[in-house]
């Protein structure tokens, strides 16, 4: 069945996802919060799948679900785990804290307002139609045409940035060693 409008798929997953996101920040132990983050990333991948983009789901799970937590875990192991984890100090400027909370509320309200009025703002031809049944091969084809034809410059730019970062970090390490 089409999972995109199925509340039985959506609500449990969304609740678990938000819960794990909050827990990630809440946990004192960094390893626990990392595990919670893995759950969030996997669920995001699941949502991509439900929304009809298998390719994005695979990328999300492969990179965010597996590779990034592994690298971050290595970085955590590199730090000294035996020491007491970061102690909670009192917030020095409490007014900033309240200001941030207030701003967060305002932000959420603003976004909700924008979403709700988007029917009014957008032109008539732009309607929220229900998604059609799309063949996954079609999606991949449009991916290919997007990457290699319409957004080829952006794609090359991103790959260039990746290459530069890879080479640059290697050079940094090399300079450090010598």
């Amino acid at each position: 069945m089409n999972g995109i409008e199925n509340p039985i798929v959506f609500y449990p997953a969304a609740i678990v996802m938000i819960l794990c996101g909050i827990l990630t920040i809440y946990f004192k132990n960094i390893m626990h919060s990392l595990l919670a983050a893995v759950v969030v990333f996997f669920l995001a991948g699941m949502f991509f799948y439900v929304l009809g983009s298998e390719y994005n789901a695979v990328i999300q799970i492969a990179i965010y679900g597996v590779a990034v937590p592994v690298i971050l875990g290595v970085a955590v192991m590199f730090t000294n785990l035996k020491r007491e984890s970061v102690e909670d100090k009192k917030e020095k400027s409490s007014y900033l804290k309240y200001l941030v909370i207030l701003t967060g509320g305002v932000f959420i309200l603003a976004i909700i307002y924008l979403l709700m009025t988007s029917f009014v703002i957008l032109p008539d031809s732009f309607t929220y139609a229900l998604p059609e049944e799309t063949n996954s091969l079609e999606v991949i084809g449009s991916f290919a045409s997007g990457i290699f034809i319409r957004y080829v410059w952006a794609f090359e730019l991103v790959s260039l940035i990746l290459t530069i970062i890879a080479v640059g970090l290697t050079m940094f390490k090399r300079k450090e060693r010598s």
């Binding site: 900033l96 200001l99 941030v100 701003t103 967060g104 305002v106 932000f107 603003a110 307002y113 924008l114 080479v167 090399r174």
Partner: protein, 622 residues
């Protein structure tokens, strides 16, 4: 007609560029750290260049021109092309370029052995090959200009190769700046030509100044523009050529260029790069033939430079300076030959001079070492050839002399004087060096010896070629040069080099031209900037004199200053202090706090936009 060599002549250009990129990039990514690979690739590229040019020269018929162009810049119907335009003159120049650079690179393999950053040196040599070949093969004046600039950039890079040393970097800067005069003259001439052709000729394609229709261009320009304008354009081109070739008013830069290493001096500043001026004169010859006076100016500049620089060279004690002045003088002879429309002699003398001068430079003692007998003998051989007594130098010089036809006695006498002086200074400097450094019995190492032998073979080959293709006879310059050798030998044996009272200081200081520049142009510039500086410090920054000029405003100003301005200033100061204290709190360096600020500000902007939108909607709706 498909031909493997003629179709692939562009490789001559692309191989050195490819190598330059490969060496620099490879160094950056730390591959190709092996010096041997770099040496072999570089030598291979110049060898291939020489082979390609030679065989193309062999196969190309006299009237045919190889052309291969692509549009590079397009503005409406005005198109500038890039590509290759190879005729016989360009191929001969390129052949000499690649042969000399092959030999010099071979020499510098041994010369730069102990240098740490020799890869950079080789990369620049490759870049030089590319830019010089691009200049020689350029299909229109615009591409010539690009490569003209590139060549002076490479010269700057190579002179300032050891940029840590102050005098070297200073010399490189000076050379670059003086070369800018020629560049400016060239680009102004090009732009004037192109503008007039584009707007008056009615044929937009002529505006791109292609060398193939240079005859048409010069005729149209001569017909449509007034004579002074045409002469101005010709004069700009002559100035450009004279600066590049270190001719009379601008020859001072070549002495500064001698701060570079030996191979660089040999390759760039005597053999090939400075001949670019002669080359561009040959390319623009249709212009000069239309206005006869420009040809006369060219030949006068040439013979004057030859005379002055020969006199200057006969009193210098530093060998490289002698050779630099000598280079200017020989290039002056080439200019002279071009001015007499003796093109074959000019090209032949260019080739002969390139080989001889490279031999002379490469045999110099370097880095305060003793001179060995082999180098001494080779230097003397080169000197003999340069003074016109031996192999290629003799043939080429006699060809220039034959172009005089004996019609003009003054020129013939001047030519003989120059030949005498040439022989004089080259022998004198050989004796001076051998006296100063001392002679040691030792062999130069194998690589250096190979390059010397190659150079001598080239000289003999050129002599054989000239002898079999052109007729010449042994004439007065030969005898005057021979006299000079005898005179110098007698003077040396008697140990009687005396200093002529007026001529010696004049000659030793290079006719005070350098001093003249620093006294007039540089001093004028300094005075002007100093005046501006004084004006600013005394008048502008100190407003009180202006205020005191008039009496009534003073009190008013004082009142305002005391009561109003001071208060305002204090207010500003207090506000700034408080703000800065606030800001100091904000600038805690805590990343998260910055993050929070950013978030708050973005949200503020967003909500402001939304509120503005709502207000706007309400107005529209109501």
């Amino acid at each position: 007609m498909a031909d493997l060599i003629l179709d692939n002549i562009y490789l001559v250009l692309l191989l050195p560029l490819w190598l330059f990129l490969i060496i620099m990039m490879g160094r950056f990514f730390s591959v190709y750290v092996n010096k041997g690979v770099i040496y072999v690739l570089t030598l291979f590229s110049s060898f291939m260049g020489a082979m390609l040019c030679g065989s193309a020269l062999w196969k190309l018929d006299a009237g045919r021109i190889l052309e291969n162009e692509i549009p590079f810049l397009k503005i409406d119907d005005f198109v500038i092309n890039m590509g290759i335009h190879a005729d016989r003159a360009a191929l001969i120049f390129a052949l000499v370029l690649f042969v000399v650079s092959f030999i010099v690179q071979l020499f510098s393999v041994s010369y730069m052995r102990d240098e740490k950053k020799s890869y950079r040196f080789f990369a620049f040599l490759n870049l030089f090959n590319f830019s010089m070949a691009g200049l020689l093969f350029s299909p229109n004046l615009f591409q010539t200009y690009f490569f003209w600039e590139l060549v002076s950039v490479v010269s700057y890079l190579l002179i300032g190769f050891e940029y840590g040393k102050k005098e070297k970097s200073d010399a490189s800067k000076k050379v670059f700046i003086i070369n800018r005069i020629g560049d400016t003259a060239l680009i102004s001439g090009i732009i004037m030509c192109s503008y007039f052709l584009y707007s008056y000729s009615g044929n937009a394609s002529l505006g791109s100044l292609s060398f193939t229709d240079m005859n048409v261009i010069s005729t149209i320009l001569y017909a449509y523009t007034s004579t002074p304008l045409f002469l101005l354009i010709c004069g700009l081109f002559i100035v450009a050529a004279a600066v590049k070739s270190a001719q009379f008013p601008f020859y001072t830069w070549l002495q500064d260029a001698m701060e570079a290493k030996l191979p660089v001096s040999a390759l760039l500043h005597s053999a090939t790069m400075v001949a670019a001026g002669v080359f561009i004169l040959l390319r623009l010859l249709p212009f000069f033939t239309l206005a006869g006076i420009t040809l006369k100016i060219i030949s006068v500049i040439g013979i004057l430079t030859a005379l002055i620089c020969s006199i200057c060279a006969s009193s210098q004690n530093h060998p490289k300076k002698v050779l630099a002045y000598s280079t200017s003088a020989q290039l002056g002879l080439m200019f002279f030959a071009v001015g007499m429309l003796n093109i074959k002699a000019a090209v032949a003398f260019f080739a002969a001079h390139a080989f001889i001068k490279t031999l002379l430079f490469l045999t110099l003692p370097d880095k305060e070492e003793c001179w060995n007998y082999w180098n001494f003998i080779l230097f003397l051989l080169g000197g003999l050839s340069l003074s016109g007594l031996f192999i290629s130098g003799m043939a080429a010089k006699e060809m220039i002399y034959a172009g005089l036809d004996g019609g003009n006695t003054v020129l013939a006498v001047l030519f003989c004087v120059i030949a005498f002086l040439t022989a004089f200074y080259i022998t004198r400097i050989a004796l001076v060096i051998s006296h100063e450094y001392g002679l040691v019995k030792s062999m130069p190492d194998k690589i250096k010896l190979t390059s010397y032998i190659l150079l001598i073979l080239m000289n003999i080959g050129l002599y054989w070629y000239l002898r079999s293709h052109f007729e010449y006879k042994v004439a007065e310059p030969f005898w005057s040069a021979l006299t000079a050798w005898v005179v110098v030998y007698i003077l040396y044996v008697k140990n009687a080099f005396w200093k002529v009272p007026v001529l010696y200081p004049l000659s030793y200081n290079g006719f005070y031209l350098d001093k003249f520049y620093s006294e007039t142009v540089v001093k004028l510039y300094h005075n002007f900037t100093g005046m501006l500086n004084k004006f600013e410090t005394n008048v502008l920054s100190n407003y009180r004199p202006i205020v005191f000029c008039s009496k009534i405003p003073v009190k008013l100003v004082g009142l305002i200053e005391k009561e109003f301005m001071d208060g305002t200033v204090r207010l500003i100061a207090v506000t700034a202090k408080r703000l800065s204290r606030l800001d100091m709190k904000a600038q805690s360096g805590n990343i998260q706090r910055y993050n929070a600020y950013a978030f708050i500000i973005v949200t503020l902007i967003l909500s402001c936009l939304i509120i503005a939108y709502i207000i706007m909607l309400s107005y529209i709706g109501g």
